[in-house]
């Protein structure tokens, strides 16, 4: 009789632990998927900016006397930024910092270019250029929003996996915490393209 009570308790305990593990695991997967999605939104917006920069460079190139060095810097920064991609499963602080520094190099090269453009009234009045400027401005806004949203989802995920008792489960199944975007140094007031 006593033996059965013990066995019953153990079985019950086992079932409870199993259910806890299943629920915890599934929640983690859901949250992780949300982070991955937020990350892909961020990348989409950055990718869009790279495309626009390509168009911008092509437009500016048409002006024969345009300062070459500024243009080269933009092209190089763009090439570098294209190479740095981050797998959402592996969002470590180092990886994210690398991504961010490549992109912010791109930002500063771009803003230098736009400052130089000020000296070319023809170019400034070019319809194609004006349109690209407006689209770039919109993309910068979208980048900022997607970064904010990414940080929010990553925070939610991190909070979940680091809380007791989920942290034990996270350790078992290898759920690692995700890095956040930091405010850019030169653009602490959100990336802004001055026109």
């Amino acid at each position: 009789m006593k033996k059965w009570i013990i066995i019953g308790t153990l079985v019950l305990l086992g079932v409870l632990i199993y259910r806890f593990a299943v629920r915890g695991y599934n929640n983690m997967v859901t949250l992780q998927e949300a982070v991955s999605k937020a990350w892909s939104d961020v990348e989409t917006q950055y990718q869009r900016r790279l495309d626009l920069v390509q168009n911008l460079v092509n437009t500016v190139k048409g002006y024969a006397d345009f300062e070459k060095s500024t243009l080269t810097q933009v092209v190089e920064a763009r090439a570098k930024a294209t190479q740095v991609t981050v797998d959402p499963q592996n969002l470590t602080p180092e990886k994210l910092r690398e991504f961010q520094s490549a992109q912010s190099e791109m930002s500063s090269a771009l803003s230098r270019l736009l400052v130089v453009v000020e000296r070319y009234p023809d170019l400034k009045a070019n319809q194609n250029f004006l349109e690209l400027q407006a689209q770039l401005e919109g993309t910068e806004n979208r980048i900022a929003v997607s970064r904010n949203k990414f940080n929010d989802t990553a925070r939610e995920y991190n909070t979940f996996i680091r809380r007791f008792p989920q942290n034990i489960l996270a350790g078992w199944f290898g759920f690692a915490s995700k890095a956040y975007f930091e405010a850019d140094k030169e653009a602490s007031k959100a990336p802004k393209v001055e026109f």
Binding site: A134, N141, R142, A144, V145, N148, A190
Partner: protein, 263 residues
């Protein structure tokens, strides 16, 4: 020292940051309104005209265009403030994200039109920019805030017209209500049937006719439990938006669409 720093200072800092955060963003208006003027710029008449125009538009198309007039957006760039406020209040329907926010920061002399994900097609950034530069800024420069906002909302309403309809604004078929009524009817019928059986037995055992037995049984029941059946029915509300006033924001989301300017 480290312990003190971690246990007391950090939560305190977070609390401070949170309260500052809460101050910088006004809470969602209650009762809900589409036009929110925190600076007293619009006269009551002007406010009423804009509010009823936008409410009617929301009722017919489900697209929510909201106006917020503040004195400042603090340290935020006005665009980011607009997106966060729109997201926080949830302007637009949740499934469609068809909200738009015209944010005016009066002391900063800045204005921004933020469009929800679902309106980015109908009001692309370039058009938002044009609305700001051709309709809002010239009017604001002359101090005519109402005129600028009125014209801008007219244009936006035209642009977004046909993009969404209010079809699915109709309250969904009230299945719950039907089930509740059905159960209620069933209970009543069962009760009546039970009474009828009882009456029949009563009639049989006492040798009276069914009709008299039925009346006796029911009279006895009424004496037994006087309060039975005298329940007060609560006034139920089944979702539908009232024709008077704005029904509330729907949880729409903003992705960074829109454009702004200074005056």
């Amino acid at each position: 020292m480290r312990f003190i720093k971690n246990t007391f200072l950090l939560p305190l800092l977070i609390l401070l940051a949170l309260s500052a955060y809460a101050q910088e963003f006004p809470p969602s208006p209650n009762p809900p309104r589409l036009v929110n003027d925190y600076t007293g710029t619009l006269t009551p008449d002007e406010w009423q005209t804009l509010e009823s125009k936008l409410t009617a538009y929301n009722d017919s198309t489900s697209t929510q265009i909201s106006i917020v007039i503040l004195s400042t957006t603090y340290d935020y760039p006005i665009s980011q403030y607009a997106f966060q406020l729109g997201e926080k209040w949830g302007i637009g329907r949740k499934e469609k994200n068809n909200g738009a926010l015209i944010l005016v920061a009066k002391d900063d002399r800045e204005v921004f039109i933020a469009t929800g994900y679902g309106l980015e097609g109908a009001i692309p950034d370039a058009l938002a920019k044009r609305i700001v530069e051709m309709q809002i800024v010239p009017a604001f420069k002359q101090g005519q805030f109402y005129r600028g906002l009125n014209e801008a909302t007219d244009t936006m309403m035209k642009l977004a017209a046909g993009e969404y309809t209010a079809d699915d604004l109709k309250p969904p078929f009230p299945y719950e209500l039907v089930i509740i009524i059905g159960v209620f009817i069933l209970i009543t019928l069962t009760g009546i049937y039970a009474s009828y059986r009882q009456a029949k037995r009563f009639a049989k055992t006492n040798g009276i006719d069914l009709h008299t037995a039925w009346r006796m049984i029911n009279a006895a029941r009424r004496v037994q439990s006087g309060s039975w059946g005298s329940f007060s029915s609560g006034r139920g509300s089944f979702g539908g938006s009232s024709s008077r006033g704005f029904g509330g924001f729907g949880g729409g989301s903003f992705g960074g669409g829109g454009a702004g300017g200074r005056w």
